[in-house]
């Protein structure tokens, strides 16, 4: 499963020195009108770790990602992202924090009036201080990473669903953020494209050591990531021997009715006694 290289200038993570975890949820509650979406969610995402979030539709997985970015505010509880309490931070100050976080939205959320080039370069253009040649160079690198360099001048409406998702990944990683949030990055895609995207996420985890929250409905994607590591030399994913599954920084979180019912690694998940989880993963 080869994945292309991304020789981006890495922005060295600085938050690891000041914060204990990349993301920390403490007893978070959220209600939308009459519906209680989250009921006391608590978990931690360590630096360099990727945590896959499972749960049926409407269980609050995407909401957790939006809360992490400060796009939504919880009714109660605390959310620490790179050491910053996003529940207490003003929107203006959150923009600074969000520069260190990348997000891949469920439906890609590409700007439909901009070309692929402009979409991927968006953050660099907005930050100013980058030369046009530098922007072009980094955009092409990011697009090469997702194997879409040829689509640079196209508009999102001219791309397939899988291509749009890959452009969204390129847009999220172009500044090499410290935290990546993936909202169903393989949802609705064919197996080949899904495997490519899983390879890209695994590479982000193993090569760039990016902390990630991954919302997915495809269990096989998360299990592939838990049982494989990215080999830098061959530039592809490599299956791990059975005894080394816990060596990869990968964990799972299962939600049910707005609560966390499981938070652990692949081996703990495989040996769970919880009937609901057994049925869910079977």
């Amino acid at each position: 499963m080869p994945a292309p290289t991304l020789p981006l200038d890495s922005i060295s993570p600085t938050s690891q020195e000041s914060a204990a975890n990349a993301i920390e949820f403490e007893d978070v509650h959220l209600q939308f009108e009459e519906k209680q979406v989250l009921r006391g969610i608590s978990f931690r995402l360590a630096f360099g770790e990727t945590k896959a979030l499972f749960g049926v539709a409407g269980s609050g997985k995407s909401t957790i990602l939006k809360l992490s970015l400060g796009l939504l505010k919880p009714d109660s509880g605390r959310i620490l992202v790179l050491g910053n309490d996003v529940t207490q931070t003003r929107e203006e100050d959150l923009f600074v924090l969000r520069a260190k976080i990348g997000m891949v939205f469920q439906e890609s959320a590409l700007f439909d009036s901009l070309t692929v080039r402009e979409n991927v370069a968006y953050r660099l253009i907005e930050e100013h201080g980058f030369q046009d040649a530098d922007i072009e160079h980094r955009v092409r690198e990011a697009l090469r990473f997702v194997e879409l360099e040829q689509a640079i001048d196209k508009f999102p409406s001219e791309l397939s669903g899988g291509m749009r998702r890959r452009v969204a990944i390129a847009r999220a990683i172009i500044t090499q953020p410290e935290v990546l949030l993936y909202d169903s990055p393989t949802g609705g895609l064919d197996p080949v494209t899904s495997n490519t995207i899983v390879g890209l996420i695994t590479k982000q985890r193993d090569v760039y050591k990016t902390s990630s929250l991954l919302v997915t409905h495809r269990l096989q994607d998360a299990f592939t990531m838990a049982t494989h590591e990215f080999d830098k030399q061959t530039n592809q994913m490599r299956a791990l021997p059975r005894g080394q599954y816990c060596d990869v920084p990968m964990s799972f979180l299962v939600l049910r009715d707005g609560k966390v019912i499981f938070d652990g690694d692949v081996r703990q998940l495989a040996h769970t006694k919880d009937e609901y989880i057994k049925e869910y993963i079977s």
Binding site: L71, E91, F95, R98, A99, A109, L110, F111, Y122, R171
Partner: protein
């Protein structure tokens, strides 16, 4: 269809007014905060100003013309047909120019803003923008507000002028009046208060059009149907607010400017 209780309905309306007020205050505050998206302002000025030019010119011309036709009949009865220039110029500059231009631009641009921003909301593009570190209030709302206020001011001046030209056309071609006399009357009838009133109104109307359009767009919910609803509501609300505000502004300025 689910019925809403009167209390709930009142709460929703109060909340909407609160949200609109907050957004309006924020859009004003953003005029003094960096970054200012100058390129976006120019683009919006082109879309709003240049794009609205044909309808504003047409509406202005024919309004001036019909005003001349209608008033000619009455003025003739009193033997004052020569005052037609005065009547057209005062009506156009003080009232019809600003209001009709405002309504035209509201119909065209408040709907455009609501549908564009509404589509961005329902496809998560606004969230993506925030996630990428850009404040949509600065990037999307502020340029639209500035451009609309700026362009409506000049569109109104243009509308006033072509309205006078419409009146001239009717006076010369249909009523066989002297063109020089028409212009002389139209020009001399205007005093500072008239021009001031006619130029203050488009600034307020432009602000109403842009903020209402953006408010309905940014609060659109419920997919494409919600975007359609937001578009309609934006046009209706902006048009009604222009007409209502016009009365209060006119009365206020008449008091302030000591009209006799």
């Amino acid at each position: 269809m689910e019925l809403t209780s009167p209390t709930e309905f009142a709460k929703q309306k109060v909340l909407a007014v609160q949200d609109y007020t907050l957004m309006t205050a924020q859009s004003v505050a953003n005029l003094f905060r960096k970054p200012l998206y100058f390129a976006d302002m120019v683009q919006q000025a082109d879309l709003i100003g240049v794009g609205s030019l044909p309808i504003v010119v047409l509406a202005g011309f024919f309004t001036g013309a019909v005003l001349a036709v209608q008033s000619a009949n009455t003025l003739q009865r009193f033997g004052s047909i020569t005052l037609i220039g005065q009547l057209v110029s005062l009506s156009m500059v003080r009232e019809l120019g600003p209001v009709l231009t405002g309504l035209m631009v509201a119909g065209r641009n408040a709907s455009g803003m609501a549908s564009e921003l509404g589509s961005m909301v329902v496809t998560e593009q606004i969230d993506a923008m925030r996630a990428l570190g850009t404040d949509p209030m600065k990037k999307l709302v502020a340029p639209r507000v500035i451009s609309t206020v700026f362009m409506l001011f000049f569109l109104t001046i243009l509308s006033d002028f072509v309205g006078l030209a419409g009146g001239l056309f009717v006076s010369k071609v249909l009523l066989n009046l002297d063109a020089r006399q028409y212009w002389s009357n139209a020009w001399q009838a205007l005093v500072f208060q008239d021009v001031f009133m006619g130029l203050v109104k488009p600034l307020l109307f432009g602000f109403i059009i842009a903020t209402v359009g953006c408010y309905y767009g940014m609060t659109a919910r419920g997919g494409t149907q919600g975007v359609g609803r937001a578009t309609t509501q934006a046009v209706v609300a902006a048009s009604v607010l222009i007409v209502v505000l016009d009365l209060f502004v006119t009365q206020f300025l008449m008091n302030v400017l000591s009209y006799k």
